[in-house]
Amino acid sequence: MKIQFRKFSTIFWLATIVLTIVLLMSAVPGLFTGYDPIKQDMTALLRAPYKEHIFGTDNLGRDVFSRVVYSARLDLFIGFFAMIVPAVFGTLIGTLSGYYGGKADAVLMRILDIFTAFPTMVLVIAIVALMGSGIKNLFWAIWLVGWREYAKLVRSEVVVIKNQDYIAAARTLGYSDLRIMFRHILPNVLSTIVVYAITDIMMCMLMGASLSFLGLGVPTPTPEWGAIIADGKNYMMTAWWIIAFPGIMLAFTGISISIVGNGLSGALIDRRNG
């Protein structure tokens, strides 16, 4: 995928810088802070930001800055890992269903229609409600729900592409179905999937943070932006810094992913339209 980078706006590059910093935080958190994110210090409880603790400390004396930095890894991991599994699975299902058609395809689409009628967050919360909270079930819930969109998206494109002349040509050459699907059809669907997947990373990250905020996702004391905010909520009146900094990080990361996603999808669509 060749993209002309000169066309992007300043905002796009700012967002890229923010994301690079967040990625760096998740890769080498030790570079940013020397404090342990879960070590409690009973001599420094609920301290406002000062020289030693630049983001202050929380109700257990933990350094808020190091908690925010160490959260980056888990939050990005949730966003990416919760996206990639249903993306691959949904793409496979959508490709097979669209390529072969027939009864299996009709049944699958009927089932998808029923379940896309339920909003994603409602389904995710329902699954977590039934299976119990925790990070493992959080992934299962998003995985079970997330593949619907990919399957629908991919299928709708495959149905169009499979009737194109070059697919007929590939068939005349005697290529196998697998080769046609993976070498000739999928590469043409890829840009659509990538565009959706980038936004999906953000959605999954926000969903993970929301569930953790409700106490249904990442358990304490693991550092995660949503969970830190949930902890700090009770001290909101006196210690604003506990929720303000993870909130700013979460917002900046979400907005940056959106901006980068918008920029890339614009570039990909431009490229496809010549």
């Binding site: 029923i114 919360i125 409600a129 039934l130 953000m202 926000l206 249904l216 909130g247």
Partner: protein, 312 residues
């Protein structure tokens, strides 16, 4: 007549889906490792207490019988008692529904008040300063989780300057309204960004339509053209989008009610999940499924009423 047949057909189609939903709820909860009764009572529960809880939950009967009893209860809306709140679940729903419904209604009112005028203005004045600004603002609100928006509003308008109550439901009608403003604004900001963008795109599209040019060339006053020809065609997709967001509000209500301490269905469900109050969780999930399906039906029907070109 056609519409009646269509609605009847849709209601009949809901039955197999609801049965699938009950199967998923029932067996989903039984697939969890561990004994729900033990989880509810704690590890040190005596054998007698455990046996009593098993009998209460119906675990002493064969699995299939248990499922059919559950299905019967779902059909009759007879959900038994909540374990933590020690009250009939149907009664709980009746008490809490008013709060969640008022929250949803007020959110929709805010949605419309924000998105319709701004969306139309931005569509008519494409690339103006306000349009560019609102476009970026809507991107921001879509990329931030609802709980963060709620907390920011809470910090600014309730904690710093005491314009609104920090939480709770209040005792009088006036207090109810006052305590609903921030929660519904929280829910509305994200939805109205989506709806505003949708309206904006459609205004731009419709303004370029031939029938708008034709209406203008007939010499109709501009205001008439906009009201009669543009607005109507723009609002139809917006209504559908809004209705879709209303079902998503079910999940939103869990987040929003927990931030603002509104004792509605969402908060009750969250507490039920955290306390592993399984009968209450099952009943709420079932109820959510039912509401989503009914809402979708209403959306489809209202779509055909608003737009005569759409056949049911």
């Amino acid at each position: 007549m056609d519409e009646f047949v269509y609605i009847l057909k849709r209601i009949l189609q809901m039955i197999p889906v609801l049965i699938i939903v009950t199967v998923l709820i029932f067996f989903g909860m039984r697939m969890i490792p561990g004994d729900p009764a033990l989880l509810m009572l704690g590890n040190r529960a005596s054998d007698e207490a455990l046996a009593m809880m098993h009998a209460k939950l119906g675990f002493d009967k064969p699995l299939m019988i248990q499922y059919f009893l559950f299905l019967r209860d779902c059909v009759l809306f007879r959900f038994g008692d909540s374990i933590t709140l020690r009250m009939p679940i149907t009664e709980l729903f009746k008490q809490k529904a008013a709060i969640t419904i008022s929250l949803t209604a007020m959110t929709i009112i805010f949605d419309v008040l924000i998105s319709v005028p701004l969306g139309i203005y931005c569509g008519m004045h494409k690339d103006s300063k306000l349009d560019t600004f609102l476009n970026s603002a809507s991107l921001v609100f879509v990329s931030i989780p609802e709980f963060l928006i709620g907390l920011v509003l809470l910090m600014l308008l309730a904690v710093r300057i005491h314009v609104f109550p920090v939480g709770g439901w209040g005792n009088s009608f006036g207090e109810h309204i006052r305590s609903l403003i921030l929660p519904s604004l929280t829910g509305a900001l994200m939805t109205s960004s989506l709806v505003m963008r949708n309206i904006r795109e459609n205004v731009i599209k419709v303004l370029n339509m031939d029938y708008v040019d034709f209406a203008r060339s007939k010499g109709l006053p501009e205001i008439w053209v906009r009201m009669r020809y543009v607005l109507r065609n723009v609002l139809i997709p917006a209504v559908t989008l809004l209705a879709m967001r209303m079902t998503a509000m079910l999940a939103g209500s869990i987040v929003i009610e927990s931030i603002f301490a509104l004792p509605g269905i969402g908060q009750m469900m969250l507490n039920a999940i955290l306390a592993r109050d399984y009968p209450l969780v099952q009943a709420t999930v079932y109820l959510f499924a039912l509401i989503v399906m009914i809402m979708n039906l209403i959306t489809d029907v209202s779509y055909s009423i608003l737009d005569p070109r759409v056949k049911l």
